[in-house]
Amino acid sequence: MAETQVQQDTSAASGVKTRSRREDFVRAFFSNRLALFGGIAISIFILMAIFAPLVAPYDPLAQNLTEKFAGPSLAHPFGQDELGRDILSRIIYGARISLTAGLAAVAVATVVGTIVGLVAGYLGRWPDSLLMRIMDVLLAFPSILLAIVIVSILGPSLPNAMLAIGIVFIPQIARVVRSAVISVRERDYIEAERALGAGDVQIVFSGVLPNSMAPLIVQATLTLATAILDIAALSFLGLGARAPSPEWGAMLTDAFHSGYGVFVEGQHAIIFPGIAIALCVLSVNFVGDGLRDAMDPRRRG
């Protein structure tokens, strides 16, 4: 009787503690002005992507060769590109492609990386060594080089670029998940679940995974930023999105390959798509940094 009482007390106490921790977290995140800015900017990008047909003033593919490299004007705030297409409309439609591509790559990396990390961290011993050795070999390649090789095998296209970038980031997610799993594996509540007769799979999904979520979310957010950049880079190398796609990296690529003239009269065709990429990636990074700082009490400013 006395024992039950004590147990209830501790669970009540820990319940209070988690709630206040969550509150702390929310407060810490929102008091971080940069993270807030990032969150708002990302929301705008996402809304822009969803409602592209309503927001974009022109058809992103409509050419107007007589107005090649026409500078920014009231009718075309960001000017026109090498084929006279409206750059603003292309950037708005491009948000759809770049964001989806980045998210898809992160999804691949997160799903596979989480499974690898869970298995390696939970089972330990030889599965752990084997999986982590494989991850080490993957990490031995410079990431963009590995992505280039994978895309050349699969054939150059945007979906394959997403897949390649996803594969490249598996080791980073796997490592984060593995170390989180190892740190919770021996905790009392896992022990308790096991004592109650839960199987390995059940323990992993109800006990281990939820308690490893925080570092995973941070890593996935920071990976999203790099993924968007790397997909743009693959497009630049001709291994991702192709013309006439308004993917941001492809826009810059097409401008670059249109000849030397772009550096002289088409400078806005270089500046604006690049700002879109940089702003988007920067916002994601702000959010990722904000999440990390908010989750780690030691790093709170």
Binding site: L34, R133, D136, V137, A140, F141, P142, S143, I144, L145, I148, V149, I150, S152, I153, G155, A225, L229, A232, A233, F236, L237, G238, G249, L252, T253, F256, F263, V264, Q267, I270, I271, P273, G274, I277, A278, V281, L282, N285, F286, D289, G301
Partner: protein, 319 residues
């Protein structure tokens, strides 16, 4: 480690669609000719056998022959290596020279306006696509201000005697100072484009490890003893804070090799990155293999160097 990498590279490259013999001979070649070339290239043997043959040659420094240029891959890589090394080292030099002091100042003046500005700038540096930064540099300094020359390593009418393949070294050896200066001018834009990400990472790492170290007891003790503030920062704190920074710098060199593919393509820089890009386009098996192996080998070598540097910086580490 390198063995594992070589196996993966070999089989991945073999998996690239397209028959190199067919590509080399063109569409007009007869079945007979294609078959003959395949035998000659050893492509008719099973893939595992191909790998063993490749490995046998590789340990003797023979990475095969580029099917596009017809020259040995090792030779092709060695010719292009100095250009890439010169660019990468210059980029890394700028990154460390600017990154470490800025990181230190940021940490010492934590939460100051300067610190906040550099933090945001550093994050911006990480968030920019390299090829965009390169193009913006060309727009601003190459075209609008006409301050810096591009593309390539030197102007077309400047010639220098090739001794080491490093423009800066060769021009100094031959006492050609105008070419030396020109070489530096040509290096600035590609090096900044390539090194900015690394610089941003170095700033962030230096700052955070400095902050950590500054809170340690030995730093407080040094302060309490009355050691002059700058001495505390440089002698006591920085030396310890350099450990994680050195690791990050080592990792960045690996990323720089990836970045060099893009930078060299934009600036027509005749290095390994440029040929990596070209060989993938032309399905040049031997060349791709060589480039990726070279990159992986360099990566392993640099990690080894980092370990050695650790021992220098931290007397507790002994090998």
């Amino acid at each position: 480690m390198l063995l594992g990498v070589s196996i993966i590279v070999f089989f991945m490259v073999r998996a690239i669609p397209g028959d190199p013999a067919q590509i080399l001979l063109g569409q007009t070649a007869t079945q007979e000719q294609v078959h003959q070339l395949r035998v000659q290239m050893g492509l008719d043997k099973p893939v595992p056998i191909q790998y063993l043959l490749f490995l046998k040659d590789a340990v003797r420094g023979d990475l095969g022959t580029s099917i596009v240029t017809g020259r040995p891959v090792t030779e092709e890589l060695l010719v292009r290596l100095p250009a890439t090394l010169e660019l990468t080292m210059f980029a890394m030099f700028i990154a460390v020279l600017v990154g470490v002091p800025v990181g230190v100042i940021s940490a010492v003046k934590q939460y100051s306006l300067l610190d906040k500005t550099t933090s945001v700038l550093a994050l911006t540096g990480i968030s920019m696509p390299i090829f965009w930064l390169a193009m913006i540099l060309i727009v601003i300094f190459g075209v609008n201000l006409e301050l810096l020359p591009f593309p390539g390593r030197l102007g077309t009418d400047t010639t220098i005697t090739a001794i080491t393949g490093f423009v800066l070294v060769d021009s100094l050896l031959t006492l050609n100072f105008s070419a030396f200066w020109e070489g530096i001018l040509y290096l600035i834009m590609p090096a900044i484009a390539l090194g900015t990400t690394a610089m941003a990472v170095v700033v962030r790492m230096t700052r955070s490890s400095m902050l950590e170290v500054m809170g340690e007891d030995y730093v407080r003790t040094a302060r309490a003893k009355g050691v002059v503030p700058w001495r505390v920062v440089f002698k006591h704190a920085l030396r310890n804070a350099m450990l994680p920074t050195v690791t990050v710098i080592g990792l960045q060199v690996g990323l720089l090799m990836g970045g060099s593919v893009i930078t060299e393509t934009i600036f027509s820089w005749p290095g390994v990155g440029q040929i990596a890009y070209e060989s993938i386009y032309r399905r040049d098996y031997a060349m791709i293999q060589g480039v990726v192996l070279y990159a992986a080998a360099l990566f392993v070598l640099i990690n080894l160097l980092v370990d050695v540097l650790y021992a220098v910086l931290d007397p507790r580490v002994r090998y």
